[in-house]
Symmetry: C2
Subunit: 394 residues, 2 copies
């Protein structure tokens, strides 16, 4: 076999999201871009803020010596300090530069974390539905994913997480605002989760972590605030990327922030730096590090996403679909009108509407609509959603 | 324990190269940059060519829609095609865009390859001395490194590689021009290696690969040419980065090129793309992809490195050191005047001269001098090298 057995298995299964993304490229080539309604990938369509482009220009103009060269694996010192200041303000807990490690996006960061903390067979609890790549990131480093169902409205079910904890648990991984559901976990639930982690460590004497993947933190609506994880859990590790906030998903830039009071934080940080190096990331891309350090507080215009969400919600209601109102991110996790969500997504595809089956997120019976597309696409897609539903009933 | 047992072990050992690099930063802060002679890290000190900066400026000015967003995990189609054209010319074998996958540098590329091809316990043969991170890259994906000594002049010893081949072999990994020795493997040896791979596949019925890590391909002296791997082995996978050629080591941009006639090349390529995604690289940084695609044939001025090499060789000879003349890269792998190379490197450090022990490359009894420093540093360091040697004898 030309590839490892495990890879051979996975290539066949591939990612639903990526499969639909690539199907979209194909359909667009066939029918013309304007005739395909592609809600498959969370690929921000908004251009990066003008401050991003201006900053890149300024940095290149400046052309500092060593600006594109190696730096310590954790990143440029100044960049780490700037990010630490940002996180301190955002989370309400004081961090220094040494508590921050720049990363190749959140996906790189999560691999670095799991490489660092997981012994073979260690378990990571993830609320379901969930971003399904988490399973591969954990498996890469010989850990096991353990799913804990959320409530019907996709809020955290603390009882289910408690029930999943055991002697092999190494981490709980949450994602809020959530992909695929758009749910933002409440402060009370985060508090309860922090207490649960503490209680479990005390009762087992084992070190566990609360890993919080927060790339959508700034994409929230209706005055919702994303609770601080660091304030409620000293064993918390925050992971994020600038992919969504700055619309730069292809640039692979993010960071890991470790709670300063984490048990043996220095050992954990050394491990994370080592893993950054040996997994082959070496360091986060240099130019992008220096750019994001200067862009604290800058983000795309979230109101644009809000308008789209509202437009899409209205359209879906009008068309007769059932869903929970998303509070953040740019996804609606919609109930499939027929039990088989994969079949329904295939059905939608006949109307040139691309979405992703909920099964791709451990959420069978649902499908995900990513609304990082123009209002015009949403407006023109609504009749298609309606037709698709009517076609089922006729 | 806050980190996995394996990570805990490795943090203590850490990388010699990185240790010396960070020691260098400390000494420079203490004694002033001009009083520390840092030959520890292969961090190109030359500025990137002006074409690189100009290209970045032009790309940012152009500000194309989606330029910073997600693209297929293998990279932008146009970039892959441009690289394929470059590799075809360089290697004398025709590749298409689909045979190229952009990567986060060569370190990222190697992790992607090993993740893709290694089953647990599979062996990878590496000529010694070698870039020691190879061991961790292989271990990350549950493979085993098997070392095959080179000849005393650091040329390939085909007999040793043949002896190391067995039923568990999955790949032979070579690096030419070599880090740490500066050796460029001869065309005859590459041919013999290609024949060996073919013969082993025929006799065992197992698929194996010749992986060639070539980041220093364009940094060669005295009219030396680096032999084509693809021409001599259909099972070859070429890996490289632009770190050295363009002096952009911090930007993490490189690629993987697969021989079109590789057994089941399509399956291998799908596996490599999958691994790129699930290891968390997702894709090589977008802006840098588009930049390097436009910079075919552009490189730093290699004559500058040649002058330094000549100056350093002359100085070391004058000071009384023994070494094999390097043909490429920017390292001299010098014989340690005392058997214990670690002790000798520590001794040199007292003279504010930073090098890396050969033990850090599986080459005990040697030490590596990275001459990507200015001629002035070399000139002022020569007396220090001399003093250090004399101090040993007094």
């Amino acid at each position: 076999m030309p590839v490892a057995a495990k890879i051979s298995d996975s290539v066949g299964k591939s990612s639903w999201i990526r499969k639909m993304f690539e199907e979209g490229l194909r359909l667009k080539a066939q029918f013309g871009e304007e005739n395909v309604f592609d809600f498959s990938l969370g690929n921000p369509d908004l251009s990066p803020p003008v401050e991003f482009t201006d900053t890149l220009k300024a940095l290149i103009e400046k052309n500092e010596r060593g600006a594109h060269g190696y730096m310590p694996n954790a990143g440029f010192d100044g960049v780490r300090e700037a990010i630490a200041a940002r996180v301190s303000k955002e989370q309400g807990v004081d961090l220094q530069g040494k508590h921050v490690i720049t990363s190749c996006g959140a996906a790189g960061a999560l691999n670095v974390i799991f490489k660092t903390i997981l012994n073979p067979g260690d378990e990571v609890i993830v609320p379901r539905p969930y971003f399904v790549e988490y399973g591969t990131y954990i498996d890469n480093h010989r850990g096991l994913i353990v799913l804990a169902d959320t409530n019907p409205d996709f809020s955290l079910n603390i009882g289910n997480i408690r029930a999943a904890l055991n002697e092999r648990t190494r981490a709980v991984l949450i994602n809020s605002p959530n992909n695929p559901t758009g749910r933002v976990y409440s402060e009370d639930d985060i508090k309860a989760l922090g207490a649960l982690v503490k209680e479990h460590m005390e009762s087992t004497g084992r070190i566990i972590y609360l890993v919080s993947d927060e790339p959508y933190r700034e994409i929230v609506y209706d005055g919702i605030r994303v609770s601080s994880i660091l304030k409620h859990c000293t064993q918390a590790i925050v992971v994020t990327s600038y992919s969504k906030t700055l619309s730069v998903a292809g640039e692979r830039i993010g960071y890991i922030a470790v709670h300063p009071e984490c048990v043996e934080a220095d050992v954990l940080l050394s491990g994370l730096i080592l893993s950054t190096r040996i997994l082959g990331f070496v360091n986060a891309p240099a130019l992008m590090q220096r750019a994001v350090a200067r862009l604290t507080g800058v983000s795309v215009n979230v109101n644009i996403y809000k308008k789209r969400r509202d437009l899409l919600m209205e359209g879906l209601k009008f068309a007769g679909y059932d869903f929970v109102k998303p509070e953040g991110a740019f996804y609606i996790f919609c109930k499939s009108p027929i039990p088989d969500d994969v079949a329904f997504v295939a059905h939608l595809q006949k109307f040139n509407v691309l979405t992703v089956p909920g099964s791709g997120f451990g959420g069978a019976g649902y499908f995900r609509i990513a609304y990082c597309v123009s209002e015009n696409v949403i407006q023109r897609a609504v009749p298609k959603f309606k037709e698709a539903l009517e076609a089922l009933r006729s």
